[in-house]
Subunit: 485 residues, 2 copies
């Protein structure tokens, strides 16, 4: 503790998407109070998870992979291309160049914050109420705290011995060349997007998941459709039993039983670990505030105010494990920053209708609480298959299925699970409809041009309309069919 | 007049999209009245303009053309394809095969109607109140009439001498091979979509329009953006002066001054005439009902009830020249069929928020009344360019611009003009927002995932929000800038 302690009114741990948003919103409030100071504390590298190692580089990789895939598919439209070649180095260079551009916008903001003396560089640890130590040296005193330190990849025990053959989203975009083969562990959005992209870029890829799950899908019918469609293209297994994993010269040798019950003994140059992420809350010294996690390791963050227990501490972004996606992190930051600045006069914030999208092909999305979020017997579902949907056939992308849910009696649209073409767009339309409190009737009265994928949504809405009138509630019906809730 | 006259309660002229929809809705009403009969009268070919020679085959051709284009573009993503080859015959065969499938669904319905004795084949002419002659022979008596006879391509005078070198949307999809060169006359949706498709399929193509117009665009800023972007790819001229056109062995020799003022003297194998369509109302014998067009050749169809004057006659679909797009034709048919069946107890119908889309690349769309439909000084605009929009850059489709309009004071979204990537989807989102009476604030509170094209819409909404607070009304402002309203 060499220096005189800094004192800051609102200290924000983390200068990522949530932290930057909290900083902006806390400053806005602080500007109303003379002398109130705000600072972000972050050890770097700066640039946000999304821009550096998340949404942006993954979408850039997916764009190249999808292009390669579509070039191989165009013969069905009467267009021929020979000698399709993936220049791995160029693909990675574009990913890195465009990513650096996106990161650059963030760094500009960081520079502004630095110039204003509002960034303290270093890792922060909470040492007591109102007290942090940064970089093991500098003491920082705060009145209110925002924690926006994000999350880190989980590496399950059996994979901890394979050392540098193991990569995560944190380093995969730094590769200078693609490996020849890749084992992807985990079928969340990272594993699915990158796994399919590697496959399409010509890398021998195997994808392994657990519990039959694919991304955020919970509707058994959509899940089954996704499993079937993705299995036609990918060596993907939604269950597996690991028997042995060892580091070998060529990379990693893995023995496992795949979801078809087949014994596999294969060697992969790399293992991409995408088995989930864990909040960084556990290693910040919260115990020094008398705050400890519950038995499942979760901290009691109020989802409406983002306050942690009764302390003047607010948790935003991936660290709160509520909605680990960029646009929610930005909202989180706004709420946490504002409440930190206004403490103790904090507010419960409005939230947008939940929406999450996985940029596989076909794409996956959940609107509202999805199937899992439905009450037991008060909702009906309507469905469309894209197999014979007009616009999807025209474009040769006719795979997938969508289910939309509505409340019985009121007919209010509650949410949807989507797997199909253009789902990044269709899910926005449905999420807006949910947030605007539309009924199925309202939505059916909206314009649907022809021919568009949105007409598939209309088909599902019509089916839903009929089911609202005559069908049994969805979860009961599904249970009767033996699919289980 | 060889046979005993048929008598039908509701006669529907035309068994296309509007006619079929009118038939369904008139039957539904007629079912409530014992003995009320409904019949469609059509000379064939059956199958609807949309499925046979409109939306569907054009989108199929565009899908192949866009695929060819994108294959040529993938090197920017690090993917290489050599020897890109368009197999014209295969492209056309897929267009024809898939089109026939779509037409087949219509023909199934026609067969059902025939089996029910509800189709009379032949061209109908009105010979007096309640009296038609079909096929020059059969007399048909009706109580109420729905006219859904569609429209036909206009061929301007100078082009009438080039005979079989001239094709329209009615025959272009029947080609067995692509011509080597094509002059496209008209920059409405047909000319734009097919002209760009021909170009991308390797046909030397020149596109000519009039009055500076591109599709349905009316906003001078979006129009200018479209002109600039499309001109980079296409030999497109939004004004031209025809000097001479003559039939030659190789096709058609055309001398014209293009929009850059350059004298052109070129020969094209074919001329695609897409200079607009004219309602078939003029040649049905309406004068025998005492109904005549106004000085501009338009008939007085009530846009709310679709009634023609005071007669028990209702006009649906392209024939009424109100909204010549498929989904409006279907609504028209519903309204006209219902009102014909219920006459004289007719109803003003609800209509959806207007939406029209042109499937060029980038796509074009108008939501609501667009710019042209705005009042003089009561609206503000907000704008986004896709040039640096994140998702558009990721996918390498970063061209275009969108302008959204809102009412001053209330902030209610009024409409938009769009030219850019994914516009078929973005325009639905905005059209639904308009119909749901959303304000700019409401829309900004909706979920926007990251990274998606919808974030471009958010940028425009934010700009609009700022302009609503501080900006001058759009049309006044534009006028001051000298662009003119």
């Amino acid at each position: 503790m060499s220096e005189k302690p800094h004192t800051v009114d609102v200290a924000i741990l983390g200068a990522g998407s949530a932290g930057l948003s909290a900083w902006r919103s806390a400053k806005k409030e602080a500007a109303k109070k003379e002398g109130a100071s705000v600072a972000m504390i972050d050890p770097g590298p700066f640039g946000t998870t999304c821009a550096r190692v998340g949404c942006m580089p993954s979408k850039l990789l997916v764009a190249a992979a999808d292009a390669a895939h579509h070039v191989r598919q165009v013969s069905k439209l009467g267009i021929y291309a020979e000698g399709v070649r993936v220049e791995g180095r160029e693909v990675l260079q574009r990913v890195q160049r465009e990513r650096d551009r996106f990161v650059g916008f963030v760094l500009d903001v960081i520079e502004d914050a630095k110039s204003a003396g509002e960034i303290i560089e270093g890792s922060a640890r909470i040492v007591g109420p109102g007290r942090l130590v940064v970089g093991g040296e500098t003491e920082v005193h705060y009145n209110r705290l925002v924690i926006a330190t994000g999350s880190t990849p989980i590496v399950p025990l059996p994979f901890r011995g394979i050392e540098n053959a193991l990569i995560t989203n944190e380093d995969v975009f730094e590769l200078q060349a693609f490996p020849k083969s890749m084992l992807v562990v985990g079928l969340g959005s990272i594993g699915l997007e990158l796994g399919q992209a590697f496959h399409r870029l010509g890398i021998r890829t195997t994808l392994l998941g657990i519990e039959g799950l694919i991304g955020p899908l919970t509707d058994p019918i959509i899940l089954e459709q996704a499993r079937e469609t993705l299995s036609q293209e990918l060596d993907i297994h939604t269950e597996y039993q690991l028997e042995k994993i060892e580091r070998v010269d060529e990379g990693v040798r893995v023995r496992f039983v795949d979801s078809a019950g087949k014994e596999r003994d294969e060697t992969f140059e790399r293992v991409l670990m995408a088995a989930g992420r864990v909040s960084s809350l556990r290693r910040l010294g919260l115990e020094n505030l008398g705050i400890s996690p519950d038995e499942e390791g979760r901290y009691g963050v109020d989802p409406d105010t983002l306050q942690l227990g009764d302390a003047p501490v607010f948790v935003a972004g991936d660290a709160n494990e509520l909605h680990p996606v960029l646009h929610e992190a930005a909202d989180d930051g706004r709420i946490a920053g504002q409440n930190a600045a206004l403490f103790p006069n904090i507010r419960a914030a409005w939230r947008r209708t939940p929406l999450s999208i996985v940029f596989t092909d076909p794409q996956i999305a959940i609107v509202g609480g999805g199937y899992e979020g439905l009450g037991d017997c008060a909702a009906s579902a309507g469905e469309v298959s894209f197999h014979n949907q007009g616009r999807a056939r025209v474009q040769g992308v006719n795979a997938g299925k969508v289910r939309i849910y509505a409340e019985q009696h009121s007919g209010r649209i509650l949410g949807a699970e989507l797997f199909g073409p253009g789902v990044e767009h269709l899910s926005h339309l449905l999420a807006w409809a949910v947030q605007a409190d539309m009924t199925v009737d309202d939505a059916l009265g909206m314009p649907f041009y022809h021919p568009v994928l949105e007409e598939g949504i209309r088909t599902a809405l019509r089916d839903l309309n009929a089911n609202l009138r005559h069908g049994a509630p969805i979860k009961c019906a599904v249970a009767e069919m033996g699919v289980g809730c």
